[in-house]
């Protein structure tokens, strides 16, 4: 395989990882607060649709904001149903995913009746970093990216800082590891969990919009193709930590980028192998992570029993 191809694959990896990092950072807060948002796939696809629709009216930035807004609204509804009406988190999450998949298809078919050509909107313009882009290999991979990639990197650092150094970050941690103890210490459990879910929803919506407005420029039903589930898996792999989440997202994105460009490689495996590889590897890594966490759990319990 040629150098150009590897450059294309690696550049594609960063571009494809950005939406996963957005949604993953959000879900990281949700899971560190001891919750799980199974509606993330629905929120991402609604964000993806809204991003294109709003983007066609007001440009890419408006599209991204609208996508995040839709995710936020869905998370507000979800929080209400789960914590005011005490509905099961898992059932509601799956229902929100079902709703998002259905509603995005419905609205899309209303917007563009079948038979008409799909609308393509302007995507986020690439950052122009001048001479840096001309550096061989590193230039096109690192410096020829969409601003969304850099935004994802900034968000990553911000999330790490928030987790480590802010009152909110510590409150999320406390609520997630022991809600009762956190409540005794004066942390508002419900409110902290709700805030985490709202952040998760907004970032899931943004992640969805980043898929369409960021790179593709148009929406088709089921365009997220299970990215939401990948995000959930990535967050577990990364143990809800920003850096771990980013690494998981990069792994999945690399395989996906590889699959997209596999036609031009010399390897002649069936195309389904490339398409399935990201999901398979995610599953394998998930198994390895779960196994390691289980071992750690046993070690900690037996260790304490001995003392």
């Amino acid at each position: 395989m040629s150098v150009e191809l590897w450059v294309a694959i690696l550049a594609g990896t960063l571009a494809l990882a950005a939406p996963l990092v957005f949604a993953g950072i959000g879900e990281g807060f949700v899971e560190r607060a001891g919750r799980i948002n199974l509606g993330i796939e629905g929120m991402m696809i609604m964000g993806a649709f809204t991003g294109v629709w709003a983007g066609s009216l007001g440009g890419p930035l408006v599209g991204l904001v609208a996508g995040a807004g839709v995710g936020l609204v869905m998370a507000v509804g979800m929080n209400l149903v789960i914590h005011r009406l005490h509905a099961n988190e898992i059932v509601v999450g799956l229902a929100v995913t079902m709703l998002g998949l259905g509603l995005s298809t419905y609205l899309f078919q209303l917007w563009i009746p079948s038979g008409e050509t799909n609308v393509t909107v302007q995507t986020v313009p690439r950052a122009d970093l001048g001479p840096l882009t001309d550096i061989p290999v590193i230039g096109p991979v690192l410096f020829g990216q969409s601003p969304l990639v850099y935004a994802a990197a900034v968000l990553l650092v911000a999330a790490w800082a928030v987790t480590r150094f802010t009152r909110f970050g510590l409150a999320v941690q406390a609520v997630g590891s022991d809600p009762d103890a956190a409540a005794l210490r004066g942390v508002r459990v419900q409110r902290t969990g709700a805030s985490a879910l709202l952040i998760g929803g907004a970032l899931a919506g943004l992640g969805g919009a980043a898929i369409t407005v960021g790179t593709i420029g148009s929406f088709t039903p089921d365009i997220t193709a299970g990215r939401g589930y990948i995000v959930l898996a990535v967050v577990i792999m990364g143990r809800s930590r920003p850096v771990g989440i980013a690494l998981g997202a990069l792994l999945f994105a690399f395989l996906q980028s590889f699959a997209l460009l596999s036609q031009s490689t010399a390897l002649t495996l069936p195309s389904e192998v490339y398409q399935s590889a990201p999901y398979l590897v995610t599953l394998v890594v998930l198994v390895i992570t779960s196994r390691r966490q289980l071992r750690r759990l046993y070690r900690s319990t037996t260790g304490r029993a001995a003392t």
Binding site: E31, G34, I36, L38, G42, V81, L85, H86, A87, N88, I90, V91, V92, L94, A95, V96, T97, M98, L99, G100, L101, G102, L103, T105, Y106, Q109, L110, S177, D178, P221, A225, G226, Y229, I230, L232, A233, I236, R239, P270, E272, V273, Q275, S276, Y279, L280, T282, L283, L286, V287, S290, R291, Q293, L294, L297, Y298, S300, T301, T302, R304, A305
Partner: protein, 370 residues
Amino acid sequence: MTAFDRRRWVLTASVVVAVIVVAAALIVFAGADPLVGIQGLVEGVSSSPYRIGEVLVGAVPVGIVALTLIPALRAGVFSVGAEGQIVVGAIAATAAVFAVESVTGGAAPGILYWLVGLLAGSAGGGAMALLPAFLAVRWRVNEILSTLLLNYLAAGLLGWTLRTWLASPDETATPQSAKLPEAAALPSLLPGTRAHWGILLVIVIAVAFFLWRRSAASTRLTVFASRPKLALRLGATRSRTIYSTMLVSGVGAGIVGWIQVAGVNERLLNSVTGGVGFSGLAVALLGGLAPIGIVLAALFFSALTAGAVGMQSATGTVPSSIAEVIKGVLLIGVACIAAYQRTAVAALAPAAAPIDAEHDTEPAHEGGRS
């Protein structure tokens, strides 16, 4: 269970109202008259015997998946893998039927084909379900995520299968297998419709679960969901519970795979599952994990899908995907109602599947943080 719990009825009524309001709003948003839409919906479901047959045909897969999810959901095991299990069951059944045809030279009687198809489908679906069960038992891999990811792998397997070893020898517009031998098809139950004998299987399964509900095994699962340690004393270990409940749902989904191939499409298609994955879970919960409720809920879901197509043609503007939106809203509503109910569904609440090992409630946790 208090049948006249006022709060529950108020909640149920508000869910029904919410669903109707959402549906009407979506229709109006599409620039159509809700009354015309409802009329189209009713016509789509009942205007001809063929359409009634379509409702029955559509209720079969979702009904069987939902019925066979009863044990898993009772135990608080959330398997979302029906989609992939149907696919593997359908591939296995199709391959087995063609194998029988080539071995017997096409002279096999229908009953042999059905038996082989049923068994192969069950085996395929069951095997596909045992994998996430194994991962959950052995390494505590969250079964929701593993089944969701496996669905995508199954889709890849199906795509490859239809392109290679089970591909139709004829040139076709969409990837598909060759047509099954005539004798392998499930006979029609109602002439002039696609309604097939598989419908009777739903009734058999429903009756079986109706009887099973009163058994000790059923109670053990309910106990497992809320008090795993107590269930352990009743003989319901974690591994036995997860393996058995996921196997039942996998076999059910595998049978659906065979039925869709032998009864409806007469060949293996890419669209064999028809998106039953989430619908099956929704129908099981909507039916309150009770067999009769599930059968009714499955008919309702199927009627909604068929009716939405009627609505689309009556109004001309309302996309039939309105059915999916309504199902989602309905499922959220059901989750709210279930939270108030002290029935089997409410038992799900504390059973939220552990997303990482640290939140688990196994004996290993004894010395944990406290």
